[in-house]
Amino acid sequence: MSKPTNLHRSGLLLVIVGAAMLLWALTGLVIETHAAPMVPETPVLNADDAPQTLSNEYCMLCHAKPDRVWTLPNQDTLSLTIDPSVLEKSVHGSANPEGALACADCHVDYRFPHPVQTVRTAREFTLSRYASCRGCHEDEYRHNQDSVHGAALRSGRTEAAVCVDCHGAHDIQPPAEPRERISLTCGKCHGAIFEQYRSSVHGTALLAESNPDVPTCISCHGVHNIQNPTTPLFRVRSPELCAECHADQSLMAKYNISTQVFDSYLTDFHGSTVALFEQQDPEVPTNKAVCYDCHGVHDIQGVNRGEAQPIREKLLAVCQQCHPGAEPNFPDAWIGHYPVEGGVHPTLTAANGLYRLLVPVSIGILGLLIATDLFRRVRRLLGRDR
């Protein structure tokens, strides 16, 4: 009695499993990812059916289906599901002045069946694909190749940013809209720097008020051709970078910030030296302070001239970064970013005044004495000397 029952049960199980597998196969959910990792997408369609020009509808037959996941050899997973509405709402959707892009515009080599993938990680896949952007964005692609990111990539830092790391792949939005997006984009990889920037005077204004004037990352670093900011060249040129805004009178007037900061810096010992280095030896390192040595790099805070005492103490700590032995009087050796005033700098003003008098008076007296000698000679020459 037990025998036929077992047979009956086994048969029933077989039918159920078979039906389930058939159903699975029909809905295209069978993806032999683990068994055949080199072929990410199961050819559920017949190759002969592939049209000559791939239409989005054709791609979406597979890629619109949810939960399509490709597991790579290192167990990274990549979702293969594309939400057509995401693509449509991106810059490459119907809002694109050049017209909405088709899948095959970027995936040019993706005829069906898809080429065999030899990449082993999700990152390798990204790096093997990002040159797709080059077809339309040649200049940006080249700039990126010439940038610190390109150099880092060539030196083996596979995490260095390529197009899609900043812009996204299918959901690309206008990269500078809103402006805050820019710094958030950089912050994805440069988290420690973003953490400093977000609470700086510039970062706060950008993120809290959507301020249109404060610098985002790219204002100082550039966009695609970002250069190494730790070189002597970047350092000696940095004051001009700050001056682009801080010497702009109409811009600074909005915030009641002095525009004399750059000129006063250039007349100072530090500034005049840095300017000479920039003009004559830009590749040679100099230890003379540039703007960010005193004000900070990404964590720049506003300087409030009103509170004299705390600033004085803050300034000493700033000076001591480079002048370890500096004592409380030392910061006063820096005249500041404001014109010399008699009330603030009495000895300096007196010395200036003294020599403004002494130089012409000395020249005058000695010149006069010389003039009398010349007078005698002229008279003698004219024969009027007794």
Binding site: G187, T347, A351, I370
Partner: protein, 369 residues
Amino acid sequence: MTPEPKSIEPARYVRFSGVQRFEHLLLLIAFLGLMLTGLPQKYAVQEWAKTLLHFLGGIESARILHRFFALLLMVEVILHVGAVGYRLFVLGKGASLLPRLRDGRDLVNWVRHNMGSKPERPAMPHYNFINKLDYWLTVIGTVILIITGYMLWNPVATTHLLPGDAVPTARVIHSEQALLMVILVVIWHGYNTLIRRFNGSIWTGKISRSAMVSDHGEALQQLENGTQAAVLSPEQIAQRRRLYVPMAVVITIVASVLLYAFVTFEKTAIPTIPRPEVAIFAPQIKAAEGDTNVGAVVWATVRCALCHGADAAGGQDGVPALRGTNLSFENFFQQVRIGSDKMPAFRAEELPDAYVLHLYTWLTTSSKP
């Protein structure tokens, strides 16, 4: 009218000793070197100054050279003090360079002669008022430049004793006094020794008779009348020297030690500025605290608002409101990372942990935007 002889006559009268001529050579080298390396620093914005600095090997090189010539000048000062001491205390010569009332009279008479109101030129001593002006303007200028130079060389030590203002003040004085010296030397010393009457006595040590007549009439008279100050006997000189030389050696050693201290007293600035270490590539940094400003921007730019609404008040098809959410941060974080059947998962590459915290902070703490 006796025209001054145009032909070069043999220089006959001793004017400068070998030591004096050597001192002048040192001073000349130091002066020219300091001028050449100092003026382009003063006028660094001018094109000529930049060209000169370029030839000097750049600004830092010019500064080092300037200090080298300053060192030479200070060595010459020590030498000069010793030499003057020798003349005064060993040779027993008078302090003939000290300014006296008669120098004022000489100056007035010299001007009156030039203007034609006095027929004869004043009969002047070995060091006349012209020489004394040269000498004292140089001495005063050098002392001022050395003091202010020390302050600029050692600003940290200077502000240990003096207010901070002293350093920029020293800079102004050093710069202006140097200019003053250049002008005085060029116009006064240059005119009197090269143009008014070419006088090479500082090189040869000897001076012509006509130059003596013109500029040192009294000294010439004394020579010819034999009325100069009495010269000490060799025995007297030898005796004085035995006393002076050990003292001079001690003073020179002390001065040299001071000079060494001057040059090496402080290291004003460290060679390179250490930048605070910030990790360049830090995709998964921990945020110090949640930042509602960043959270608001994340909300607007990372597709949250597309479904949950711009102000997080919920969207169509039952998409929940997240403003003031009751989810714990851990649950919220899970939801963001793993997603659900309707909500896409956000990977860390797209939305770093720190941004999730900022987002959560914005949703839970800030009022409606």
